[in-house]
């Protein structure tokens, strides 16, 4: 059994009079410590998959087992605990708190996690130790995303979920952010799941999951994924 299992999971949205199936009866198995890329066009259902796994949304049908525990049955408070302890999020739009400094944005996790990683250590890892007293608005997009990565990892989660983490960045900055992300994830033995349009990112993945129209079309395992530096950005 893998770290994550999707068993016949569907997510159906009611749009006006008709139903829209964002995910349709999917099965999926993800192993621990792997780097997974979910690829697919817009509206394929890849973000829905990520949101369900992150406990931001609940499936209409099916079970989502994480470490053997079905998170689809959890109530609001238990889901919050799950999000605090098991998953870390990195978003395309960073979602930092504008009124907190870099240090404080990362320190946020201390409010909800009993044994977080050192905030200073995380900031060193992402190369922002000299910017810790700045506010998000004083940072570039790439720097903000690195803060977001530091914050996600500071919780010491098992799984790191990234939704188009380089979507708002130019390719050079995007590559740099990915490098930081992958290095940290590997150093800290995290399972990373990235949702993206970007085919280049897929070249670095252990597993590529192709999603289309709410179905999983293909799961490709790569024995020799490329490193960030090997990818032609």
């Amino acid at each position: 059994m893998g770290l994550i299992e999707f068993k016949k999971v569907s997510r159906i949205y009611q749009v006006g009079d008709h139903e829209q199936k964002a995910l349709d009866n999917i099965d999926l198995d993800i192993e621990e410590g792997k780097f997974i890329v979910i690829l697919g066009p817009s509206g394929a259902g890849k973000s829905t998959l990520l949101n369900l796994l992150g406990g931001l949304d609940s499936p209409t049908n099916g079970e989502i087992l994480v470490e053997g525990k079905d998170i689809s049955k959890l109530d609001n408070n238990s889901l919050a605990d799950y999000r605090a302890s098991t998953v870390g999020f990195v978003f395309q739009s960073y979602n930092l708190i504008p009124t907190l400094t870099v240090f404080e944005n990362v320190s946020l996790v201390k409010e909800i996690v009993k044994d977080p990683l050192s905030v200073n250590e995380m900031l060193n890892e992402v190369g922002l130790e000299d910017h810790k007293d700045k506010f998000p608005s004083e940072l570039s997009g790439g720097e903000q995303q690195r803060v977001s990565i530091a914050r996600a990892l500071a919780k010491n989660p098992k799984i790191l979920l990234c939704d188009e983490p380089t979507g708002a960045l130019d390719s050079e900055t995007g590559a740099m952010v990915l490098k930081v992300l992958l290095n940290m994830a590997r150093n800290y033995h995290k399972t990373i799941i990235i949702v993206t349009h970007n085919q280049n990112i897929a070249k670095m993945a252990d597993t590529i999951i192709r999603v289309k129209s709410g179905h999983i079309r293909e799961v490709i395992k790569q024995d020799k994924p490329l490193s960030v530096d090997e990818v032609d950005w």
């Binding site: 799950y82 978003f91 009124t99 907190l100 506010f135 608005s137």
Partner: protein
């Protein structure tokens, strides 16, 4: 198409629109309502005075005036109408009630209107026109017979008409009774013929009433010259039915010029902030319309309509609500109805009230216009960008040592407050304003209750107050006072600088009547001079140690007296001890006796007793008098609380939506709903604490100003009771906590997926 969008946008922001409309409704309603109250008193009473020929001047003489005297006054240029007039207190034989029998020789002056029955007939005999309220209270009907006695004179007649007269607009017999009690006191009119017959062909009219446009000086000079002697002349301002009613109107005007203006100010300013924020939320849509090719003027017009819509709907509803508030305070079935006996209770508004409301609609439209204009600045691409609040900068307090030790929630809330200064400021202002209103309302209430308690439960230290009949001699009065082991007083009206005031002479041996000094402490009357209240001191520019002269009504006698102290009094008058009065040779007639004997045990000497009132009767009467004020204050308190809820809910919701993305992030990171709710509640409570601390002294200040302005009506001082401290604290923090909780509950419904999709 844009109109459809307008309607849908209104629907989309229905919570904000409803709260904005509610704020305008409340602000305009309270403003309009309180203006309507005093204006209605003013107009309805003046219409009544006009329809019953309320006199501008009254000449008073104990020896009476002849028809020839009256004609002389009538011949003065500038005098329109005159009448000889008498009002004498008689006793009704059935219940021994006191009835003022009134006669006017010219029905155009100091007369009445008939509400039921026969019209007036100047030559009718055995015919009585009776106060309709007295008739109702005592079960008298048309064609009932009644007998009235004044000493040996007896009057019997049939009730032929039920009436109202502006002479008895506030129908009290005096003697400390401030509210009418139709069960025991009323009035009737009879014809001059019947009066003459009752006196056995003799006529005594101690007053001439005149309607004239002349000034008092012009009238006095002309009247004295025509009659060849100095006359006591009273203006209508010295007659309680006029002065007290106008005092009530001016008291309402004072109230209306302070607290409802604060109320309106809060509502309009917060509404303006909400309107501006709403336009900010629409920035992307504004940009889209601009990018599509709509002209700026069309877009601005579209968004200006929002302000106009809220302004018009809120104001129209507010005016309706205002009329309701005015009616609530001023209606014959309410507390005002027990005070005034008016034929019409129509609600009137000062014309400028509507101008103010129009100004508010204009202001809100202008705010929408300016907000939309601001959103359209720059190119279409600029307009398309969503609004971003100012970038966060370091606060000065962050350099302090303690900052780093602060909790995350504290830092987050502090920075948020400073980042959204306008919103925080408005919330603070809302709490401040509501605190001011609550403190002012309760402090007024406390001061009134405190004053009433001091006055009625302390100053009136007796069990019963006996009013003696007008023909009781001083010897007999002293006999009665001795019999009942009582203190006594002699009250008469005198003129001080041409103003009619009361002169009360007391002989206090049992401490049954006590007097309050300016600090609300009880003092004994010294025998070296007289005492007056604050109002008389101010209006006559008197200070302690000064001497002044009063003249006795109906005679040329004057007395010069020394001012030895200041008292807090209910009535405008001079108070002195019997010893000082004797020393000055003042003639007086004892008319009040104060005893510890219970009302029901007073039966001896009943032939000389006009009325007996227990202390409770008097307190009850004053309580009804204060009820008018309590009603106004009560309405203000309730509306302040509603305004507080609407304002805080509106700003809380606004704050919630502006922080929606941040709150979603916290939720995604793993914060529980309760913890996020606590963050929101904490911020609101901080603002409540600061707003309350600022509002508390401001509320006291406003009350002080209000008390000063009301000094012409009440000689009160600020008294801080438990109500002032406790209730506003509980109410303000209760409201704030309740509203914060309502807003905080919303975070349960945050859609994390949708919230985080939106690009920054």
């Amino acid at each position: 198409m844009l109109f459809k969008k307008l309607l849908r946008t209104i629907w989309h922001y229905k919570a904000q629109f409803i709260s904005m409309i509610l704020m305008v409704l409340l602000g305009v309603g309270v403003f309009v309502g309180f203006q309507g109250e005093w204006k209605s008193i003013e107009v309805d009473t003046h219409e009544f005075y006009a329809s019953t020929g309320f006199a501008d001047y009254r000449l008073v003489s104990e020896t009476g005036y002849s028809e020839e005297d009256m004609n002389k006054i009538a011949s003065i240029q500038g005098v329109n109408k005159v009448s000889r007039y008498v009002s004498v207190k008689t006793n009704e034989t059935k219940e021994n009630d006191v009835i003022a029998v009134t006669v006017t020789t010219n029905f155009d002056v100091s007369s009445f209107i008939v509400t039921k029955g026969e019209e007036y007939n100047a030559s009718a005999l055995n015919t009585i026109w009776m106060s309709d309220l007295y008739a109702k209270a005592n079960d008298y009907h048309i064609d009932d017979e009644m007998t009235l006695k004044y000493g040996a004179i007896s009057l019997t007649g049939k009730i032929k008409g039920l009436i109202k007269s502006s002479e008895y607009l506030i129908c009290t017999p005096g003697e400390n009774q401030m509210m009418p009690d139709y069960k025991t006191y009323g009035f009737v009119y009879i014809s001059p013929e019947m009066y003459k017959q009752a006196l056995g062909g003799f006529e005594l009219y101690p007053e001439i009433h005149a309607i004239s446009n002349l000034s008092k000086k012009e009238f006095s000079e002309a009247a004295n010259e025509k009659l060849g002697k100095t006359n006591l002349i009273l203006t209508k301002n010295e007659i309680p039915s006029y002065s007290e009613a106008q005092g009530e109107a001016s008291e309402g005007k004072t109230m209306a010029s302070i607290l409802p203006v604060v109320f309106l100010g809060i509502a309009v300013l917060i509404m303006a902030t909400t309107m501006q924020r709403l336009t900010i939320n629409e920035k992307t849509q504004i940009g889209t319309l601009k990018a599509l090719g709509f002209r700026d003027s069309r877009i601005v017009k579209h968004y200006t309509l929002f302000g106009l819509f809220i302004g018009v709907v809120g104001s129209v509803l507010g005016i309706g609500f205002g009329y309701f508030i005015a009616w609530f305070i001023f209606n014959p079935g309410g507390s005002m109805g027990t005070y005034f006996d008016l034929p019409s209770w129509a609600i009137h508004m000062p014309w400028w009230t509507f101008l103010v409301v129009l100004g508010i609609v204009g202001f809100m439209t202008l705010i929408s216009y300016i907000s939309a204009k601001n959103m359209l600045k720059g190119t279409a691409a600029d307009a398309l960008k969503p609004f971003t609040p100012k970038a966060m900068k370091r606060l000065k307090i962050e350099d302090s040592k303690g900052w780093r030790r602060l909790k995350f929630a504290t830092k987050w809330n502090l920075r948020d407050l400073f980042r959204h200064k306008a919103r925080s400021g408005m919330t603070l202002f809302g709490v401040f304003g509501c605190t001011v209103l609550l403190i002012a309302s309760f402090l007024m209430m406390d001061s009134m209750v405190g004053f009433v308690n001091k006055f009625y439960y302390g100053s009136m230290n007796y069990e019963s107050q006996i009013s003696l009949k007008e023909d009781t001699t001083n010897e007999k009065a002293l006999e009665i006072a001795t019999y009942y082991n009582a203190d006594y007083s002699a009250s008469t009206n005198v003129s001080l600088n041409e103003e009619a005031i009361a002169m009360d002479i007391y002989d206090i041996n049992h401490d049954y009547v006590r007097f309050l000094d300016t600090n609300m402490n009880y003092v004994n009357l010294k025998d070296d001079g007289v005492y007056v209240g604050q109002r008389l001191m101010e209006s006559n520019h008197l200070k302690i140690g000064d001497t002044f002269t009063v003249s006795i009504f109906g005679s040329d006698t004057t007395y010069t007296m020394k001012l030895t102290g200041q008292l807090r009094t209910l009535t405008k008058g001079v108070v002195m001890s019997k010893k000082y009065a004797d020393e000055k040779g003042i003639e007086y007639k004892i008319n009040q006796v104060f005893t510890n004997t219970k009302k029901d045990d007073i039966s001896a000497h009943s032939d000389f007793i006009s009325t007996i009132k227990s202390r409770n009767d008097i307190i009850k009467s004053f309580d009804s008098f204060m009820e008018v004020m309590y009603t106004m204050i009560g309405a203000l308190i309730v509306l302040s609380i509603i305004l507080g809820i609407v304002v805080l809910y509106n700003l809380g919701t606004m704050s919630y939506f502006e922080r929606y993305r941040e709150l979603s992030t916290l939720k995604v990171v793993g914060f529980k709903d309760k913890k996020i709710g606590k963050l929101l509640i904490t911020q609101n409570m901080w603002l409540t604490v600061v707003g309350f601390i600022l509002g508390f002294p401001a509320g006291i200040g406003i009350t002080y100003i209000l008390m000063k302005a009301l000094a012409a009506e009440y000689e009160m001082m600020l008294i801080f009771g438990w109500m002032t401290f406790l209730i506003p604290v509980v109410l303000m923090f209760g409201v704030s906590l309740f509203v914060s909780w309502l807003v905080a509950r919303k975070n349960r419904k945050i859609d994390m997926v949708e919230a985080l999709k939106v690009p920054e």
